[in-house]
Symmetry: D2
Subunit: 346 residues, 4 copies
């Protein structure tokens, strides 16, 4: 049994890690931390986690935790994660970091977008970007995984095949994303109260969202050249789910069927990516609670544009499920372990 | 491997059976029927059931099905189920019937409330009411299970301990229930269209809902005397979940703690019923997608009334999860197999 | 033009007062206060209130306000309202107080349920409970209106005719109410964040909700004897609306039609109460955004119980609309002025 | 008093016309038709329309209707509207047609996208596209108004100022729109049932939605040259509201402030269009139930792209409110009559 600890367990991604790991046959959750809820039972905060009725939140005491676990999931706020990651990695522990602190390879870019200095640039070099569909082999050997952001996961899975195969003009990419409200985290904030979100829909952070450089970094790697993109996130009145609608000009005439076959080939061995048949587009509801990504696409002949739509559950494939996937790969477990649960529908 | 067939697989309870059984290590779904969708892939109708991409809906051809499976889940409409149940039972198959056709032991009561003649009263005698918390031993030996209705499940689990222990006046019971919209099934009906249900809340079928005699039959059995109850269902703008708020006059002075201890004792060995601590009441959200029932209660000293609140997921503990639970008991599998998944929250 | 001020204008009831008064031909909003938002435009906080783009929140400076307005709507928190009400009333202003501070005639009862001393018992004696259907004539002459709570409004309109006519046993009343989330006010609170409320349903404050004594006071007045009731509030995942389902034993045999005719007669001249035809029950959605109350009822012959269901919009008939209705009556305006807007459906 | 008739009154746009016209001082609804609901009271179908309790749906008997009304709102299905429009216009009545039948000036384009022949091309020539912000003067003189589609209204108001002033490259326009569910109409359809829409989000009709040629026709008129656009509609789990997020490359360097000032100038005299301050983007919730359009925008300097976000209520500014606006202009009423109601929030 692998002993794991979850640092920052009182948010939605922490709770989701607990939910998923409850079904993992080779893992024991040895500790879960929360400063605010230290001393309280997990089930006091999260009554749905009934199988953890004896687990109690503890403060993040790094030395104590070292003795308790061999792999650490860090679900701490951005910036707060930097030092903890460095500590556990330096002490020869495996780490899956769900924050953004180790995702951007260029510390200067991190500092520009997150307005925080990066103090562990040596450790940063060790981090592997944990998108298994792009970096499976590197992940297997890694000790530190920078678990991807939710929006970037949906965008990268949706655009990589087209970009890699040279179908699209990399300078014309537009990513219009829509996210359920759990993406904002579990917090007291009038703006995310029920009556403000329900029966509403809005764009936010246009052109300035912090997932922008993360998407650009990884798409640039795929394209083999530096590119900038338009990324607009929106808030949807639902709990979970991201749908990204992506546009790019085609470099030459294509039709939907031929592009679909490129996508199907790209993902034919991927356990968690489904490319839909022509004429079908994914619904966030079809992946709710699961680790699957669904992709549909269309070539608009009138405008010579490729439109790709991808959907994931932001808390699973976009966070905790992908984190467990990464752990499975790092530890040599069958990679789909504990992740085969089907979506909850309706 | 036990081979099972699902008759009537294109509704929500059929889909939910498929979802749950996908995680059952000892069961293979050998067939699923649907007249309307015969010939179509399961994943055409239900894209979320990705692991069933090769399963195809077939018409309900009873003779053909006999050869394919050893246990049958029937998720057919009321009345339509009568004959199919009789056929499979007569052919020595085990049956879990999710319709109401075999729940009411008195055919006359069935005929009064369902406005349909019961043509298989001999088979009716064999049926065991499939609420494991009340009839576990009988279920283990049964060949035909009448799987309880969703409202009755929530009401019976909530009231049985108080009634059995003689705490309450059986003539004063009021059951005020609230259900998510999936309880109405998957159908084209203006009244259940999104814009009619969303941002609304209403009572319906006051005093005439068909679950009334089912609740009365089982509460009468617990009380040891015939009783009538007030039952009012309501429609909640959410997908899943039932919350029943139940009232009854106490026969003598009690306090919340003493009644709670009776409930805790009643359910201490039950794997799927949780009695909450004093001052806590259940939220439908805490059991969404899971087979758990949560119960909270309060003694109102000012009015000498016991108020019990119970919640279940109507599609799981209120239908398909309970059906799998019953199958596990009938087949001698560990009874919680495939049912330990935690609720999806948020 | 009547000049009015709204004290406490940054919550939902304040915003709703502004929305309704925007359509009032004889009223000018001369001031609106908010400590937290002082100095900000109303439209900064509430972009939907476009016609108030020049109105700016100001601190509650009582002396200054005296000169600005002749009628004051107080939408302040409980306890905070006590002194302000006394001040404006003492200065010969008319006041409609939306807090609970002047609703309970017995200061001892107030102190027991609100855990706050009442320091203005002389002013309390002047307060008229502002339910026009019960106290229209008193309201016309009043200088201080205690605007009813949302739950009490729905319960009192639903039960008064039956109680007044002696149909029901006053000792058996159960009020099971369900409210949309705006009833909790506009605030930063994890428990009311979108992801916690959405797709959930729960009871809260069983037997201890502060609207209990208010309902009891007014029902007792109708019944002509002191009574206690069971009142259970629930939280519904919708913005607006209250549905109260009420139960009481009938004192003798009645049928639905005869009870309906008593209700229809009771409300035949009421501009804002509609009694529905036999077999129809109200939906919160049918009154959303309007000042109407809809009532449906059923006699359950099997249990000799009357079940009444009433619905209102908690922010309109349950708060700000009723406040404007009271103002209209106090000022001698046609009582439906600015309140005839139909519900927004869907 | 102007007598109006509503043909096709049992859908959401018909009901919304009735709601709005209930507050119009110069209009009397003389007739409302519905084939399916003929003979039933309006309040049987729409309990919220309490002030129409004596109005009864009648069949669409054109000759009879001629005598009853002077202006006709047609809310009939596409194609079904063609002949009725022609009839009423030929009989010297004024018509506001809410269908798409008279929106496309080129009958061949209509036939290509709607798969129906246009049989009244002479009448088609008389039709004025009823977007007051673009065609106010023509509308005042018109006898036949083709009331714009909901998506086109949001797109045209959002893009016209930029296109007219030559800021953007017309060949790069992308319109990513999101609509509440009432846009699909009031109908029995599994795909629009509560449980299918709630907690989901999806794109549909990518590249083939029938509003595409309507948007192109009007944007081409503004641009002074024929253009094609990418238009992707999405379904949002909410009742009402459209948010369109629109992208176009800037032709030269601009900043947000300078583009905003062009928009503010373009709409400074428009009663129903609000351009938001820099850094603010519209929320569908802020216009719910109102006739307002809110617009926010941003210049993304990194990609030299203009991003405009607009929102309307699809049933009001996107349908029935705009229809009343057009009637007001045609009849010489003050143009905002009955349309000044503020949005319902929350």
């Amino acid at each position: 049994m692998l002993k794991v600890a979850i640092c920052g367990g009182s948010g939605y991604t922490g709770a989701e890690l607990l939910r998923i790991l409850a079904g993992h046959p080779f893992v024991e959750v040895a500790a879960v931390t929360s400063e605010q809820s230290a001393g309280r039972r997990v089930t006091d905060l999260f009554p749905h986690l009934v199988s953890y009725c004896d687990l109690i939140f503890e403060p993040l005491d790094r030395e104590k935790l070292l003795a308790k676990a061999d792999l650490f999931f860090l679900a701490l706020p951005h910036a707060a994660s930097q030092e903890a990651v460095d500590f556990f990695v330096s002490n020869a522990k495996k780490v899956v970091d769900l924050s953004a602190d180790y995702r951007l390879k260029d510390a200067a870019v991190y500092e520009e977008w997150y307005k925080t200095k990066h103090n562990f640039t040596e450790t940063l070099k060790k981090a592997v970007y944990g998108l298994p569909e792009l970096y499976r082999e590197e992940i297997k050997k890694a000790s530190l995984i920078a678990n991807p952001g939710c929006y970037p996961t949906s965008a990268l899975l949706g655009l990589s095949p087209a970009l890699r195969s040279g179908l699209i003009d990399a300078d014309t990419i537009i990513i219009d994303s829509k996210s359920g409200t759990s993406g904002a985290g579990r917090k007291a904030d009038v703006g995310f109260s029920y009556c403000e979100v329900n029966e509403g829909f809005k764009a936010y952070g246009i052109g300035v969202h912090r997932h922008t450089p993360e998407i650009e970094q990884e798409l640039s790697a795929v394209a083999g050249k530096k590119l900038t993109i338009n990324f607009t996130p929106h808030l949807v009145p639902m709990d979970r789910g991201i749908v990204s609608t992506m546009y790019a000009k085609l470099r030459k005439n294509e039709d939907t069927a031929s592009v679909l076959s490129i996508y199907q080939k790209a993902y034919e061995n991927e356990p968690f990516v489904n490319v839909l048949a022509e004429g079908r587009y994914p619904n966030a509801k079809d992946v709710r609670g699961s680790n699957y990504c669904e992709i549909g696409l269309k070539v608009n002949k009138r405008t010579n544009t490729l439109i790709v739509v991808s959907t994931i559950d932001n808390l699973v494939k976009g966070a905790s499920g992908q984190a467990v996937h990464n752990m499975n790969l790092m530890m040599g477990f069958e990679e789909t372990t504990a992740l085969k649960g089907l979506a909850l529908y309706p």
